[in-house]
Symmetry: C2
Subunit: 131 residues, 2 copies
């Protein structure tokens, strides 16, 4: 299959596939007579794996580690556990900080219920103070 079909099969953009190839996340496939990339089912599986990871916001550096686990089935999977654990921690931290941010923004917004001139806007006034 060609790159466009691989893209359709996996939901990964064509340009992104070529980017992953440049980055070494997917191996460079053989080419047909016209120089087009020719992929097999293994490529579909590998790219699906990457896409799934990315949908979980796992960084490419971590995806790389997980892929190397896949490539060496004998190694222990402690790395996979660690990657997922670290990801959970990151996500929870981001949720917490976004909650705080939301509260701050709502408080800020409530300072200017009705539009006025910018000179007297309490939002701008507040933003002019240190955080």
């Amino acid at each position: 299959m060609r790159v466009g079909q691989l893209a359709a099969a996996t939901g990964v953009d064509v340009e992104t596939i070529r980017y992953y190839e440049r980055e070494g996340l997917v191996p460079a496939p053989p080419r047909n007579a016209s120089g087009y990339r020719a992929y097999d089912e293994a490529a579909v599986r590998r790219l699906t794996f990457i896409r799934h990871c990315r949908s979980l916001d796992v960084r490419l550096a971590d995806v790389r580690q997980l892929l190397s686990l896949l490539d060496c089935p004998d190694r222990g999977c402690g790395t996979a556990d660690a990657v997922v654990d670290a990801q959970i921690v990151r996500v929870r931290e981001r949720i917490a900080s976004l909650h705080a941010l939301e509260a701050t923004l709502v408080a800020l917004r409530s300072r200017c219920a009705s539009p006025t001139t910018s000179a007297s806007c309490r939002i701008l006034e507040e933003l002019a103070r240190p955080a």
Copy 2:
């Protein structure tokens, strides 16, 4: 005051201040005899404003809009309201999607309670499936 003192006064990194100047968020200050930037209190106020916005994760493009409101005190402050409202929406969306992500990750993690070999790791198995 020089750029280092401005940085200390506002908590904005020196390199970042120069970056903001290149981007036109802060005006280019006058220079002393040696070519060093010489800032005044207005620069402190402007940079403090920007820093406060950034601490609220407001994008520089939006910060730019808010700054232009500050520069024209006669204009209505509907723009400021809109920026904050949009920011609240963005933050809430991110929180929601992070919550979903967290749940997915926790479910994934629970599939591999005890480390095994990567060939039989249920986390890797799951990641190999489409999202």
